[in-house]
């Protein structure tokens, strides 16, 4: 895979790194302080607009999670908990001690699984539309079950505007493969308990770096009640609402999101 094929990522370089025997696809763009960007349920390519803006202020390092994109999935890995340890190993491979970390949606869950294990490995943490803490309590559900709606409805709900890109059946074969791998990985990590680690909320107190939680005010995946649960689990985090943004705030409001992130990280550095 190269950025020639993934044309939405033509503003940086796409490489493969070896993390303890697992090949991981990694995209790098921009210069400045390092920012580890962890993509959401829309995959690395779905985050392109947001990364492009962030790369104006940061050296963005954006891997495809194991099982997504062209990244291998280690045979033992079936929980985001496993992925947390894996990403700590990846920081070592990348020579990053404590970068700023930004995760969106599913990627915010990954970031939390890392930092509840080794809180000192981030200088600042950005959680945009995070998933990962309990998404429901018995019959009360706060997060749309992506496995109970059609691909078309999911594509429509992820952002405020219309979804970009062709439907699955009209994609090139390599695009199909990436989309199908993402579906499989989301099913592996998010099927049940739905999109969460039920123990995560009780571990979040371990995250001590400055943290900002950003929600789109038009998120059609996570309900406001869910953001209150995050506020309770991370009482010291700053909370920001992005006007006019859906679950993919990096797609709907990339410049506004990047401004918020760079201002927050700069404030932390002072």
């Amino acid at each position: 895979m190269s950025t020639a094929e993934l044309s939405c990522l033509n503003f940086g370089t796409l490489d493969t790194i070896d993390v303890r025997g697992t090949d991981i696809e990694i995209f790098r763009a921009g210069s400045g302080a390092p920012l580890l960007f962890l993509h959401g349920i829309d995959s690395l390519e779905g985050a392109a607009a947001g990364i492009r803006e962030l790369a104006k202020s940061f050296e963005v390092i954006a891997p495809s999670h194991p099982g997504f994109g062209a990244s291998e999935l280690p045979s033992y890995m079936d929980r985001v908990d496993d992925m947390g340890y894996f990403y700590l190993d990846m920081l070592d491979v990348l020579g990053l001690d404590a970068p700023a970390i930004a995760g969106t949606s599913f990627g915010a869950w990954v970031a939390c699984e890392m930092l509840t294990k080794e809180p000192a490995r981030a200088s600042a943490l950005v959680l945009a539309s995070p998933l990962g803490i309990k998404t429901a309590e018995r019959r009360e559900h706060w997060v749309t079950d992506i496995f109970m709606i059609s691909s078309q409805e999911l594509a429509d709900r992820l952002q405020v505007g219309p979804a970009e890109g062709p439907p699955l059946s009209e994609m090139a074969e390599w695009q199909m493969r990436r989309a199908l791998r993402a579906d499989e990985a989301l099913s592996l990590f998010g099927w049940t308990p739905y999109m969460c680690n039920p123990k995560l909320a009780s571990r979040l107190h371990r995250i001590t770096c400055p943290t900002i939680v950003i929600w789109g005010d038009r998120d059609a995946i996570a309900e406001p009640e869910y953001s209150l649960r995050w506020r309770d689990a991370l009482p010291n985090a700053r909370v920001e609402l992005l006007a006019g943004a859906g679950h993919r705030s990096h797609f709907d409001k990339p410049a506004e999101l990047a401004a918020l992130v760079s201002q927050f990280v700069a404030g932390v550095a002072k």
């Binding site: 109970m148 059609s150 579906d183 499989e184 099913s187 099927w191």
Partner: protein, 397 residues
């Protein structure tokens, strides 16, 4: 050829409700009194099949108005007690949707004891959309299927001390079957396949392999089985290792047979009525399998009629006969259609016959089963074996 009676035990009164009938179809559409009457009626028809000398096949589905048998072994436990001679085929027990393989083994052993050793144990993956109902993990489905299979076989056939099991997917401290099955080392195993590749897995093990409503594709499924069987066992499999499932509508009056077929045909309309998001559950099919399906396009999987044309959008009974999904007519006609398909498919020893389907009523079902058992089954029992393919080619040469 042996005949097996099968019905999906549908709650067809709810089929008039528009929209999907499976997974998310609310249960307020079910009148439990009417459901009970229907279930007892279907059981009566199974008992009649037993009296008529037919064998019996039962299945299970979940959260659907197309099949009320929600536990194949529960239904078979009733029939184990109430029937006298029929072989009792569970086809199948959806292993990868079951939480506890030892519970499956216990239920099989119990029913095998009660029936005096008449259980045929169909071990199937389970239909993809019902992973939503079981909420078992869609990924690694086949790994889980085979581990469950291994554990069930180990539990049923164990003649040594009790054992514990620490697998990738299942963990049990101890296993002891009380009772253990009458059939040793375990009841015969059946599987289902819709491709040559999946049939090979059963051929290698010598299990009976069934293919459902696959028409012309049955031939390649059976060929895959035979090749793998010959490789593993050094001889050709008996035809009774292979089975084909289709609907059968029979009457001494041809027009009446077609009228019955129209009632049964409603099954084909009801069965695929479910919402689009349940058509391909994320993570269920391996990426490569999904990719092959996408690249092959929607027409690749369509059933074909005898002229090679794909089955049209709203098929007639004649179309279904041509595609070999239905055998319809007088006893002579039904016999001829089955005998011809037996040759075309390369020979199979079991016809899994939906003798009731769709909205076919009790009186029609009774007459259908009686006529088939008396006038078609004896002739199918005498059907000559189809020689293996290479011998036929040699004969021509």
């Amino acid at each position: 050829m042996k005949l097996w009676h099968f019905t999906e035990q549908a709650y067809h009164p709810a089929w008039a409700v528009p929209g999907g009938l499976r997974v998310n179809f609310p249960q307020y559409h079910c009148d439990p009194i009417e459901a009970g009457q229907l279930l007892n009626r279907y059981l009566d028809e199974y008992l009649l099949a037993d009296e008529l000398g037919l064998n019996i096949m039962v299945n299970e589905h979940h959260a659907t108005a197309t099949c009320m048998s929600t536990s194949v072994m529960t239904t078979l436990a009733i029939l184990a007690r109430q029937t006298k001679q029929a072989r009792l085929l569970a086809l199948g027990i959806p292993l990868a949707n079951r939480a506890n393989p030892l519970r499956v083994a216990e239920e099989v052993a119990l029913a095998d004891c009660i029936s005096g050793g008449r259980i045929e144990m169909g071990l199937v993956k389970g239909v993809p959309l019902e992973v939503v109902v079981s909420n078992r993990q869609p990924t690694k489905f086949m790994d889980r299927f085979w581990e469950a299979h291994d554990l069930i076989i180990a539990a049923l056939s164990n003649l040594g001390e009790t054992f514990g099991w620490e697998g990738d997917h299942f963990h049990f401290r101890t296993s002891a079957m009380w009772p253990r099955p009458v059939q040793q080392p375990h009841p015969p195993v059946w599987g289902t396949a819709s491709s040559a590749a999946s049939a090979r897995m059963y051929g290698k093990r010598g299990y009976t392999c069934a293919t459902f409503l696959s028409g012309a594709a049955a031939r390649s499924v059976f060929n895959g089985y035979r090749e793998a069987y010959v490789e593993a066992h050094g001889k050709h499999p008996d035809p009774d290792r292979l089975a084909y499932l289709a609907l059968v509508a029979c009457s001494s009056d041809r027009n009446e047979a077609f009228r019955r077929a129209e009632e049964m045909k409603k099954y084909f309309v009801a069965a695929p009525r479910f919402d689009v998001q349940f058509r391909n559950i994320r993570g269920f099919n391996p990426v490569d399998a999904n990719l092959r399906m996408l690249l092959a396009g929607p027409n690749a999987m369509r059933l074909r009629m005898s002229n090679g044309e794909p089955l049209p959008a709203n098929p007639s009974v004649e179309d279904y006969i041509s595609a070999r999904l239905m055998f319809v007519g007088t006893p002579d006609e039904v016999y001829e259609q089955i005998a011809q398909f037996n040759i075309d498919a390369g020979g199979f020893g079991n016809l899994l016959m939906m003798g009731q389907a769709g909205e076919l009523n009790h009186a029609d079902t009774v007459d259908n089963l009686t006529l088939i058992a008396k006038e078609v089954a004896p002739r199918l029992a005498e059907l000559p074996d189809v020689p293996p393919l290479e011998e036929r080619y040699e004969g021509v040469a």
